[in-house]
């Protein structure tokens, strides 16, 4: 196994200095997700303003992959249009399910392409997706309260 491939510099950097961490107000949707295999947890809030993700704030415990992924996600979706954020999520999910076959588009995924190596480790893919699942769920809840897309 090639450790460096999994733990790229950029992943370790996000892990050690997570961007956007902490729970903030205001928010319209909140989600709590757990990885039952390892017990990793995240609580995540979204604040939607019109068609824009105005803020994503979170509190999490977990491994370097899950924490770095949440941090990278923050950078990707904060201030993005809701539709663009969801498109990136789809793109990232596809990358994670590629079993090491895809590289990811740096143009759109930015730092998240560093996770390409993670896709070779099925047990870790769930870690990388935990934050995104919380984001998606929080968006659904936000739109249920009338905020967001419609």
């Amino acid at each position: 196994m090639n450790l460096d491939e999994l733990y790229q510099e950029v992943i370790l950097d996000h892990y050690k200095r997570p961007r956007g961490a902490g729970l903030r107000e205001p928010f319209e949707g909140e989600s709590h997700q757990v990885n039952p295999t390892c017990g990793d947890e995240i609580t995540l809030r979204v604040h939607v303003d019109g068609d824009r993700v105005a803020d994503v704030s979170y509190d999490n415990v977990g491994c370097s992959i899950s924490k770095a992924s949440a941090s990278v996600m923050y950078e990707l979706v904060k201030d993005a249009k809701v539709d663009d954020a969801l498109a990136r999520m789809a793109e990232f999910t596809e990358l994670m399910n590629s079993r090491g076959q895809a590289e990811g588009d740096e143009e759109t995924l930015e730092d998240a392409v560093a996770f390409a190596g993670v896709s070779k480790y099925p047990m870790r893919v769930k870690c990388a997706l935990l934050g995104w699942m919380a984001f998606k769920d929080a968006l659904v809840r936000a739109s249920a309260t009338g905020a967001g897309r419609q």
């Binding site: 196994m1 039952p36 295999t37 480790y121 047990m123 870790r124």
Partner: protein, 422 residues
């Protein structure tokens, strides 16, 4: 006549080491596959490779062996799901055998009945009805009997005609608006009857009942596509389809699995656990508490690969041709009475019979002396025996590795039986 079969039976036999065995100096003629099938080297080798190379517990480790084992196990699930045309691998729950699969569904009703928050479709009480048939294996009778005993519901059943077919005329009377679940055998293990499903399924839908199949004897022998069948669940078992013992499967629609409360509880089926309270994972994990039969899943998948390679249409054609020959030859034996359909239509290659005055135990014993393995007894279908006024039968059952010559030997040996007990 064997030419009609698309299976190369001799080539298949070479994959089954046990078929080389001699019993009392005679080559083994294994005509008991309805009880359990033999296993090809491909299955045994796949399990050995797994054990010697990748053995680990699944889903809970990040180490290489754990990842390989998880992939092997989930890969097996995907293969088994594809084999029965399941829309998603997540609709396949691995159990230890058909019996557990059926109990799992019956306990879903029992547990839902005492859970105020449960889906009302699974709640039973006095006035509600559960329907089976008179030709069930005990595995698809007693769990429902016990369920009715414990919930106050009423068990009803569809009878059998003298020709060994389901009494379809009675279906509308037996399945009423009070019925909450119909569970019936797809291919009967004593009679060999292949039951048509559409009428019962349609009637179950009409009255709003769930409907499932005991497919233990169909999945190994005929193409089964759960989407085409239009049922809610089916149960089947690896050891009857060239796979290992210790593993079976329940397929159920995702929506049904979601609605069912858990059955066995413990590790690997949870979301969060505290001393006070547990929330559960989604299906299939929800129904797979504890360490599953991992190497067995690998063997099960290898068996499915083997059958896929043969082609289930070819297996069906082989068995149809085979049972024609069985019926034709057996009818020539003096005093032999077939219990079940006497024509090779709508039936599998499993034939039960009685031999005038000679008890099946004695028949089986004399056949064994000739190297012929058949099963004798009530075949876990006592009510069927009672229906036909017999205490027990002798049953010969064929599979992909059986030859016409084995039937010829069976017929000769039955003559021998009559001599001993004349």
């Amino acid at each position: 006549m064997e030419a009609a079969s698309k299976l190369d039976v001799e080539a298949i036999r070479a994959d089954f080491p046990i078929l080389q065995r001699k019993i009392g100096g005679r080559p083994l003629a294994y005509l008991d596959s309805a009880a359990t099938s033999q296993k090809p080297v491909q299955v045994v080798e796949a399990m050995r490779r797994f054990t010697d190379h990748s053995n680990a517990n699944i889903s809970r480790s990040v180490h290489t062996l754990g990842a390989e084992a998880t992939e092997a196990y989930e890969g097996a699930r995907a293969k088994v799901a594809a084999f029965i045309g399941a829309p998603s691998p997540d609709e396949v729950v691995f159990t230890k055998n058909s019996t557990e699969s059926i109990n799992l569904v019956a306990y879903a009703f029992q547990n839902a009945t005492i859970d105020p928050a449960a889906d009302p479709r699974f709640k039973l009480g006095p006035g509600d009805e559960v329907v089976v048939t008179e030709m069930e294996h005990h595995a698809n009778l007693i769990p429902w009997q016990q369920l009715c005993l414990r919930t106050g519901a009423t068990l009803k059943w569809i009878g059998i005609t003298d020709a060994g077919r389901l009494d379809v005329e009675s279906v509308d009377d037996v399945i009423t608006e009070r019925c909450k679940v119909v569970s019936f055998v797809h291919v009967a293990n004593l009679l060999g009857t292949v039951n048509p499903t559409s009428q019962i399924t349609a009637r179950a839908r009409e009255v709003g009942a769930l409907v499932g199949l005991d497919a233990s004897q169909s999945v190994p022998h005929i193409p089964v596509d759960v989407t085409e069948l239009g049922v809610d669940f089916i149960a089947f078992t690896s050891h009857k389809m060239l796979g290992p013992t210790g593993i079976g499967a329940l397929w159920a629609k995702a929506e049904i699995l979601d609605a069912m409360p858990p059955f066995l509880t413990g590790g690997s089926m949870i979301e969060t656990v505290s001393m006070e309270r547990t929330t559960f994972a989604k299906a299939p994990a929800k129904f797979e508490a504890g360490t599953p039969p991992i190497a067995e899943a690998v063997g099960f998948a290898a068996a499915v690969d083997y059958l896929d390679e043969l082609g289930m249409e070819n297996v069906r054609a082989h068995e149809k041709e085979y049972v024609s020959y069985m019926l034709e030859r057996l009818e020539t034996v003096d005093g032999l009475q077939i219990v079940g359909p006497r024509v090779p239509i709508g039936r599998g290659a499993t034939v039960s019979f009685t031999l005038e005055d000679v008890h099946p135990h004695d028949v089986g014993q004399v056949l064994d002396a000739e190297g012929i393995a058949v099963r004798v007894g009530h075949h876990c279908a006592k009510p069927t025996c009672v229906r036909f006024g017999v205490n027990a039968t002798t049953r010969a059952s064929g599979y992909v590795y059986n030859t016409h010559e084995e039937i010829d030997r069976l017929v000769d040996a039955l003559g021998q039986v009559r001599k001993v007990f004349r």
